[in-house]
Amino acid sequence: MAVIEKIPAANLIAKIPGGGIFLTTSESVLKWGKASSLWPLTFGLACCAIEMIATGAAEFDIDRFGAGVFRASPRQCDVLIVAGTICNKMGDCIRRLYAQMPEPKYVIAMGNCAISGGIFYYDTYSVVKGVGSLGIEVDVFIPGCPPRPENLLFGLMKLQEKIRNEKNAAK
C-alpha cells in the first residue's frame, strides 16, 4: 500500500499516476493539518481527568492522533477537554480559559458531569449543569462515568472527522 493511502485524509488527495506529484486543495490540507494537530489544554476537574491522563500516557497514547501535546497555556491550545464536575466557582474559570483560546477552537465534554451535571444534577447547590449551561458550544459529547480512555480516543476521532468535514475550514 502506498504511503498516501495510509493517511486519514487520503480521499481528499488525488495522485497523478506514475509521478511523484499529487493534487489537492489548500483547504483539504488545512483541514488535515488542523485535525491532526489538536493541542488540548492541560486542564482536569475531577475523576475524568485521571482517565484523560491515562489516555495521554504510554498505554493508550493519545499522541498517535496528534493530540498529545497538552499545553499549559490556553493561548497555545485548539481543544478544551472539559474532564470532570464543574463547580459554580470553576465555571467562571472555564469561561475565562475558553475565551483566552485562539480560534479555531473546539470543546469536548468528557463524562456525564461535563455534559449535564451527571450524578450531581439533582439536589445540589454548587454544581453547574454541564458545559453547555456556561454558554460554551460543545463539539463532541463523551458519555460515561468516567469514560474509558478508548471512549476519549473515539471522541477525539469524531472531532477529527467533524473538522475534516467542515464546510468553511479557513474561517
Binding site: 459554580n88 466557582k89 444534577y121 439533582y122 439536589d123 447547590y125 454548587s126 449543569k129
Partner: protein, 149 residues
C-alpha cells in the same frame, strides 16, 4: 487514656459539661473558650483539632469539634448546642491554628458566627454567595429537586 477517664476529668473541672448518649461531651457555648483552653494544655493535651462541623437539627444547630492528642494518643468529640435564633459562638482560632479555616467552612455552609475570628469570610463558596447551603431552610432556584420514584 480511656474516654471515661477523659470525661471524668472534664466534668470534675467544669460542672456544666455533660455526657451525651453517644459518649461525647456537651458543653454550653458560653464556657467553650475556657473548656478549649483547658483541653489544649496538660493533663489532657489535645494538641490537634481535626475537624469542626455542624448539624442542622431544625430546632437547634449542633456544633461538633473532633479533637485528638498526638502525644497522648487519645481523642474526644466535643459538642455545643446553639439555638436557631442565636448562632454565635466563640472562635477557637487562638487556641488551635487549624480552627481558622475550619470555622470559615462552618460559617460558609451553616452561617454560624465565630466571635473573635481573625478573618471570617467564605472559604468554599464564592464571596458573593447568598445564604448558607447546608442549612435545612436553604433554597435556591438552581436546585432541581429529585423526582420521587
Amino acid at each position: 487514656m480511656q474516654p471515661s477517664e477523659i470525661s471524668g476529668i472534664i466534668k470534675a473541672r467544669f460542672a456544666k459539661a455533660q455526657d451525651s448518649a453517644a459518649g461525647d461531651i456537651i458543653v454550653p457555648g458560653e464556657i467553650l473558650l475556657d473548656v478549649a483552653r483547658y483541653l489544649r494544655n496538660p493533663p489532657l493535651a489535645f494538641d490537634n483539632l481535626h475537624c469542626i462541623t455542624a448539624i442542622d437539627r431544625k430546632d437547634k444547630v449542633e456544633l461538633v469539634y473532633t479533637l485528638y492528642s498526638i502525644c497522648g494518643h487519645h481523642g474526644l468529640t466535643l459538642r455545643v448546642y446553639l439555638t436557631q435564633g442565636d448562632l454565635n459562638v466563640d472562635s477557637l482560632s487562638e487556641i488551635w491554628k487549624s480552627a481558622d479555616w475550619l470555622e470559615r467552612e462552618v460559617y460558609d455552609l451553616f452561617g454560624i458566627i465565630f466571635k473573635g475570628h481573625p478573618d471570617l469570610r467564605r472559604i468554599l463558596n464564592p464571596y458573593d454567595w447568598k445564604g448558607h447551603p447546608l442549612r435545612k431552610d436553604y433554597s435556591s432556584p438552581a436546585i432541581v429537586a429529585k423526582p420521587k420514584l
